[in-house]
Symmetry: C2
Subunit: 158 residues, 2 copies
DNA sequence: ATCCTTGCAAAGCATTTGCAGTCAC
DNA sequence: GTGACTGCAAATGCTTTGCAAGGAT
């Protein structure tokens, strides 16, 4: 089936992307970095460093937590990942680097991606009052409750 | 002048607000909590716990950092302050609890308040794709450069 | 062969906690 | 007087760092 072939192509592509980005900044391709990058690209769960560690350990048994931290920082430095920080203080990593927004569930702490971006006109309106300020980025996060955590919804919310 | 009288009234009012909020949740009014609250209300600088500590220490010489942390948490619990977290991982506190947004300068790290809020229609549009999710809050932060830090502006950027 | 990376363990830093004395009520 | 609050210091948890061995180019 096409499925397997496509999967293989994607894997290859992911490695190529990583090799290129690392090479461009004079850094080396390693199995550890590849595993971290592959996992980040494969999930939308915006994992913490520790979650990455636990998962990647199944692919690269001997990897250490320190290496995961270093790899994540390397990826962020290459522009292949983004670092998010939440109110609880935990850092999370996102394999998507395009400008997008998030919804976070106050119940289960899950973070999901939003397909739409804030309208440029809206940004311009908000920015208008910060005079002289040159805006380069917008970060937006919706908070609330996902269907299975909603305390106001009918079902028993765990 | 009116200035002095108004200032005194405000101070009194701030304490009354604090007393009421604390009483409502069975907690006690203390000089330390009052000093922390007063400082938060008086500034727009969104200070870290340590900055609060350094400043409040001039009013309450013997106060400890642990007490500042506890007081800040108490205020957040009473709804008299909000806790913010930035990408660098540092927690900051905001004496304003109404729903408002921020601009952060990538040069000097200063955080300022934005007078406008994201339009409800825009939130609805963004939310539309997160189906089943009940949105309760919106957090937005603009990032960029303030006039004195803008590297693309004419003057020497420090 | 060079020097970047890894894994380990120790160090760092912000925040939290335990506890005895103190204070608000 | 009672129970909450403070200050101190120790503890915690996440993240970073130093270093010798190993690996990519």
């Amino acid at each position: 089936m096409e499925g397997r072939k496509q999967m293989h192509e994607e894997t290859t592509d992911v490695e190529a992307v990583l090799r290129e980005a690392l090479g461009a900044s004079g850094q080396r391709f390693t199995e550890q970095r590849a595993a971290v990058f592959r996992f980040l690209r494969s999930t939308e769960s915006h994992p913490t460093a520790d979650e990455v560690f636990l998962r990647v350990r199944t692919d690269v048994p001997g990897i250490s937590l320190a290496t995961v931290y270093k790899s994540l920082e390397t990826l962020v430095g290459c522009g292949l990942a983004a670092k998010l920080t939440y109110v609880d203080g935990s850092a999370r990593y996102d394999g998507r680097t395009d400008d997008h927004h998030h919804v976070r569930c106050l119940g289960c702490s899950r973070v999901m991606d939003l397909p739409h971006r804030v309208d440029d006109g809206e940004v311009a309106r908000l920015q208008a009052s910060a005079d002289g300020f040159r805006v380069t980025g917008v970060r937006l996060e919706l908070t609330g409750y996902c269907p299975s955590c909603d305390p106001e919804a009918a079902g028993a919310p765990a």
